[in-house]
Symmetry: C3
Subunit: 315 residues, 3 copies
């Protein structure tokens, strides 16, 4: 998430009660998670295992729970609870101020686009040209829709990431990590009815140009989907996955988080994909393997009784 304008580090340090070490006079452009940080961004880290990675990432300013060495030009903001500091920053610079109009005053709708009754457009939503937004669609704050996009009824764009910090003091419970990212839908995308596309936690969920989704598809936070993909009904994709161009996912396929499906891969119906798959091949099964191999396994299973007949008298 980028701030509307750069924010002096001193202002942020004051907000989160941090000790500022290093470059004290800089301003931050935004706050992001480690996998999407850019120069000028804040990042936060609370586990020693990730200290090095964060300090040496593209991020310029590190919210951290211990003083460590910091490269020239960067700064540390030392606090006891970096996660809480993140929540405070998001709450201050991207506050939840829900529009109570059906179409927010700050929403922009391009020429030739049709917004049908009961469609909700939140704050700062941008809709391109020649789109059709069907009845009872919900497009939440800050989401960006390209040209020639069709979004069918009951679909939700920009729902919160399903992303919690697990706390185990006394009993297990989950603390929500506030989503401040966006959904960006490129040109010529069509999204069916009853779909849900979550926004990024602090980055963006991106649907590439020309991609078409059938009904009841779920796309998790921070997922990047390529161009001209085809997803059949009831497909589910977990968070931070990368689906390259021209991938086809047939009905009810499930894709796990933080993996990559290579360009042109085809995943047959009901398959479950736990880890990355190279492009250009067909896959099947749960857990998924190459489709030809999996169909051979289906055939071999039927032959176990025949094998048993051969071996049952062996002692």
């Amino acid at each position: 998430m980028k701030f509307d304008a750069p924010v002096p580090l001193a202002e942020i340090a004051s907000l989160i009660h941090a000790t500022l070490v290093g470059n004290k006079t800089a301003s931050a452009k935004g706050i992001n998670e480690i996998h999407v940080v850019e120069e000028g961004d804040l990042v936060f880290v609370d586990h020693p295992k990730y200290y090095d990675k964060c300090v040496n990432s593209a991020a310029s300013f590190i919210i951290i729970n211990k003083e460590v060495d910091v490269p020239e030009g960067k700064a540390l903001l030392i606090v006891e609870e970096p996660f809480e500091a993140y929540l405070q920053i998001v709450s201050k610079y991207r506050p939840f101020q829900p529009s109570l109009d059906m179409v927010a005053a700050s929403a922009v709708v391009g020429e030739g686009s049709v917004i049908m009754p009961n469609a909700y457009l939140g704050n700062n939503v941008t809709i391109g040209k020649n789109c059709v937004i069907h009845p009872n669609v919900t497009i939440l704050d800050h989401c960006i829709i390209g040209d020639n996009v069709i979004i069918q009824s009951s679909t939700v764009i920009g729902s919160d990431a399903f992303y919690y910090n697990k706390k185990t003091n006394r009993e297990v419970h989950y603390k929500k990590m506030t989503s401040c990212g966006r959904v960006i839908i490129q040109n010529d995308v069509e999204i069916g009815a009853g779909c849900t596309i979550d926004r990024g936690v602090s980055g963006d969920t991106i649907i590439g140009a020309g991609t078409k989704m059938d009904n009841q598809v779920h796309v998790g936070h921070d997922t990047t989907i390529g161009k001209n993909c085809l997803f059949a009904a009831q497909v589910g994709i977990a968070g931070a996955a990368v689906i390259e161009d021209e991938v086809i996912l047939w009905g009810q396929v499930g894709i796990s988080k933080t993996l990559t499906i290579g360009r042109g891969a085809v995943v047959n119906a009901q398959s479950g994909v736990p880890s990355s798959l190279p492009g250009g091949k067909a896959y099947f099964g749960s857990p998924a393997g190459e489709a030809r191999e999996k169909m051979k396994e289906v055939a071999w299973i039927k032959r176990i009784p025949e094998i048993w007949e051969k071996v049952k008298n062996i002692k």
Copy 2:
């Protein structure tokens, strides 16, 4: 379902044209199915197999299609069609009188809660404090939402139970059992976008405090979900299941009806659970087994050709 005030048995007997036997002067507090009846409740039974269980349950008053012995202080209401009598009672004492306002006059919304545009709150809905009810959410009559609850767009709370009596006279057809139960959502629950939580048939569907659900989750009627559970996207839970505290269900898991998932169980993505599972373990597969065993089976299947090579010449 409890009546707004106790109803004299004589009034109910008159409504359903029943012969009243036993304690004729009592009043009923409500009507419920056998698995949730309490003292003072009506229950109905039409199959001899269940006569004993119903007559000796906590229920005080039994709508039944045959005269049987009745314990001291209880009463029988004898009718030809107990199921029809149930429908008549629900229709009279919990009639379907849909509110045609977006927020019913009888709905109560706690301090600090935000009800966004196009959210529908039915009759007698109660929303606690500091909740966010997103656009295009539907919360139907009599449902109760605690404090600090977030419900995302297109989600439906309190849809009817999927519960029918199968009739096979001449041709198969299905007669709807009217739902008169509720959904009760405890504090600190978060429910994603596009979810559907059915009300109980006559009891309640309960979501325990701190439980978090991702998008497109389905919860069937009369299901009880514990505290601090985590359900990923597209999970489906059938009717009258019991999910204990701290259970984790990953994406697209299916849970069958009237079973129990023990405390802290983890069910891996796409698994199908046909019967109860002890807590504290990880499960996988359809039908599900212990995850370690199922992953071994996946590996063994790949070795069938190797086995075949060893045995193919055995006659």
Copy 3:
């Protein structure tokens, strides 16, 4: 799709810049795909493999990209791009003119039916008697609902078919085939919350009388569902399937396209059906087989280690 009134072929030929061959003075009653054409209809074909089938189908008028022999009384409309001609005809005679009212002026609602707040009824929608259309339901243009039908919240009736022409010039992309068909729901049907029922591409999607669907069910375009079927939650049915009477599909079942599920078949939860199944039997698995066989396979898989013990020393 039938035109509002018959359209002279000459008018259509002029619209799509076609050379008219054969019966030049006739009028067309409608335009349909090959599997649902009737006498008086237009059909289009662009692949030589299907020329014969289309020319000799029930269709009277064939939009085609080559001159072929045409039976007495029929006509050819010869164009370079028959698919583009189809789009032009649909755009002209069934234009997308979305109603911007919540209930279109041309929608008809039968006596005793309740349309709850935020339900959207499009142009020419017809609702029978004694229906309940719950809040936030969307029923799109031209769909027809019978008597005593219940449609629960967030459900969408008449979303577009997921149907594209794949174009591979330079890069893969998909061109939408505009849906001009309808959804027809017969009497006594109940449809749960969060369901999506796609309209036919040019024909109709039909839900037979007495059929009951739980929540989050998806039905693809041009599918025909029989009477008194029961579909549990999260079932998905692809396009142009035929589901005969009294079929039961349990939770999360997936049905592929253009196949037939025979009368009274029962498909157990999470099964995936890639091809037609005879009626009267129970099925399980992905890909599905007879349930008894599949459960035996599940048991045999568990015995592979036992087999291995017998054969591991064979060389």
